[in-house]
């Protein structure tokens, strides 16, 4: 079956990309810095004893030749062994990482679903009734929010809705030292998450709107849409069954690629709302020069985008019969 060949090829390509990502990571932290030993074992503020430093150096294999280091790095990476974190002494990078992972998944996941649903809907409506108030409004909105740094929008929302109006808490994942449980806790978490989600959603709706709109406009000019109209099919069916279905195809891969931007946006937004996710963790890692942690975080961000691309490719093959045959 062509379908399986396609999936196999995509998996193979993803594997190659993964290898590239890991190699880049290795270069970034082990080859590019003039003194990787110091980079990876230094820590702002705290002086490591020479013995401790030597032990760490040996542990990371930094005293061995580069090819050997690379092999070991590969092995460590596949075992998810990224060493120990400095900021949280005695904890492995992986355990720190997984603690901060879920808030980010919740935040980025919620925002992504919202921005895709709203953005695509506006794009479909806007492209279909091009030049009408909804379209023009969405266009202006998209341009404006596209031009806004995420963190600035976050601060403005913070000033308005938290400082001035007091409707939402100024930050954090949940109320400190509260013993809420069950639904009340969920509500508390949602309340804290509202402004960060709003920031990310507002910031990226425009991207999806623009992509969907232009893709739909392309499709509406296609001959097969004229065929459907000629068949006397109702206009809403022309739009949803034929035009949208075809316009979704190029949109899928762009959605996957723009996932990287959303992740990047989460970094500064988490900082503004002191939301304890991977973005905040990354900034702490930068501030305290915890490069082992930073390395793992960068690897995660790249792999997340890679996986979303792979998922997009697979969805694509499922929706578009042409890919299966190729």
């Amino acid at each position: 079956m062509g379908e399986w060949r396609y999936v196999g090829r995509k998996l193979l390509q993803a594997g190659a990309t993964l290898l590239f990502i890991i190699t880049v990571n290795f270069f970034l932290f082990r080859v590019m810095p003039s003194d990787p030993v110091r980079l990876l074992t230094r820590q702002r503020g705290v002086q490591l004893s020479p013995e401790a430093q030597a032990a760490l150096t040996h542990d990371l294999g930094l005293d061995r030749p580069l090819p050997a280091q690379f092999v070991q790095y590969l092995a460590d990476t596949f075992r998810l062994d990224f060493g120990d974190s400095f900021i949280f002494p005695g904890q492995s990078v992986v355990s720190v990482f997984s603690r901060f992972l879920w808030p980010t998944v919740l935040l980025v996941g919620t925002a992504t679903v919202l921005m895709i649903v709203i953005g695509l809907y506006l794009g479909i409506r806007g492209g279909w009734k091009r030049g009408r108030p909804l379209d023009v409004g969405s266009m202006g909105f998209s341009l404006l929010f596209y031009s806004m740094p995420d963190f600035w929008l976050a601060m403005i929302l913070l000033i308005v809705f938290s400082t001035a109006l007091g409707w939402f808490p100024s930050g954090g994942f949940e109320s400190p030292s509260s013993d809420l449980t069950g639904f009340a806790r969920a509500l508390d978490i949602a309340n804290h998450m509202f402004l960060p989600v709003l920031t990310l959603t507002l910031g990226y709706i425009g991207e999806y709107y623009l992509v969907m709109r232009s893709s739909l406009l392309d499709v509406l000019g296609e001959d097969y849409i004229t065929t459907v109209r000629a068949k006397g099919i109702r206009e809403d069916r022309v739009l949803w069954r034929h035009a949208v279905r075809n316009a979704m195809l190029p949109t899928i891969s762009l959605i996957a690629l723009s996932f990287g931007f959303v992740l990047a946006g989460a970094i500064t937004v988490e900082l503004v709302f002191s939301y304890p996710g991977l973005g905040l963790l990354a900034i702490q890692a930068i501030d305290s020069q915890d490069f082992l942690l930073l390395q793992a975080l960068f690897l995660f961000a790249s792999v997340a985008v890679l996986v979303s691309n792979l998922v997009a490719d697979l969805v694509y093959s499922w929706v578009d019969p042409r890919v299966r045959e190729a």
């Binding site: 001959d223 097969y224 065929t227 000629a230 068949k231 006397g232 109702r234 578009d320 019969p321």
Partner: protein
């Protein structure tokens, strides 16, 4: 009785620079069971007519005149009436079926969609009908489950023809149905169309730039230039003795088998068709006409009778003593 009566049809496209006339006062009829060939170079407005008959032109396009399809004026219809007329009274076989079928929907479903939109039948019956239609055009019934990309160019065109017949239309508009195909396949598709036409007694508007195709299928022939029908009449007569210099040139551009003179000096036209935004004064064909006269630069020729059941828009006819024909 005529299936289609078009009278004084004008179409202008809306552009940023203002309206651009694509069709300028065209009249013709198609009788039941008859094939009218509409020929002309690309850009002459022939495809605009094909799409315009079912009001499929882009929003903002202005249409004037009358298009009587089975006695009702298409241009005056409300959207719901229009939806009911489309595909049941006239269907279209589009140019280059490469892109005329929705790539992500099984062809069976695309045919069924047309049936279900107009006929009170169950999905199963519609599916059965779709399979029958495929067999009618020479494809195995099981291929309803395939996607368009699994068909060759000629097969796609067959699917398109099957789909056009789905609701037993009174009129089939074939818009360059064989253009993007290679020669062997062209001949097959053409034979299929002709056979179906005689078998089912279809009325047909056959649009093409290729006069040699029309020689095989058309009962009557209309030649378009710059948005006007410049010559019209029984196909055999027009072929045998074209009166308009444009028709002569067009007919001369196609090789006739066994015609030695063609091999020596192939006919054909110099230059390009005029820009509809900037039409020449007088007869719009005069800059390319081999028999141009001084008057042609200023006088826009009306329609003259040119023999039995024939007409043409050329001042040469006036000189030959023809009378102005009254548009039908």
């Amino acid at each position: 009785m005529s299936v289609l009566e078009v009278s004084d049809l004008s179409v202008s496209y809306a552009t940023r620079e203002g309206p651009v006339p694509a069709v300028r006062g065209v009249s013709f009829d198609i009788d039941r069971g008859q094939v009218l060939g509409l020929a002309g170079e690309s850009g002459c407005g022939k495809s605009t007519i094909g799409l315009g008959l079912l009001r499929l032109l882009p929003r903002g396009t202005e249409m004037r005149g009358r298009v009587m399809l089975d006695g009702a004026d298409v241009l005056a219809m409300a959207p719901s009436e229009l939806g009911a007329v489309r595909w049941t009274q006239a269907s279209i076989v589009f140019q280059g079926a490469q892109h005329a079928l929705d790539p992500v929907i099984r062809v069976g479903d695309q045919i069924e969609e047309a049936i279900l939109a107009h006929r009170p039948v169950s999905r199963r019956d519609a599916a059965g009908r779709a399979a029958e239609l495929l067999e009618l055009v020479g494809l195995p019934a099981r291929r309803t489950r395939d996607f368009p990309n699994e068909f060759s160019g000629g097969q796609k065109q067959r699917v398109m023809i099957a789909m056009a017949l789905a609701c037993d239309p009174d009129l089939v508009i074939a818009d360059e149905p064989t253009t993007a195909l290679d020669v062997m396949v062209q001949a097959q598709v053409l034979r299929l169309l002709k056979n179906l036409q005689t078998e089912l007694g279809l009325s047909m508007l056959f649009i093409t730039h290729d006069l040699s195709v029309l020689a095989q299928v058309a009962d009557r022939l209309a030649v378009m230039y710059a948005g006007r029908i410049v010559e019209e009449g029984p196909a055999a007569d027009v072929f045998a003795s074209p009166v308009h210099p444009y028709t002569m040139a067009l007919a001369g551009a196609f090789p006739r088998i066994g015609d030695e003179s063609f091999v020596q000096a192939p006919g054909g036209l110099e230059g390009d068709p005029p820009d509809p935004r900037d039409l020449p004064t007088g007869c719009s064909f005069h800059p390319r006409c081999s028999r141009v006269m001084e008057r042609c630069r200023t006088v826009d020729p009306p329609s003259f009778a040119a023999g039995a059941d024939r007409r043409a828009e050329c001042l040469l006819l006036e000189d030959a003593g023809a009378t102005e024909s009254v548009p039908t």
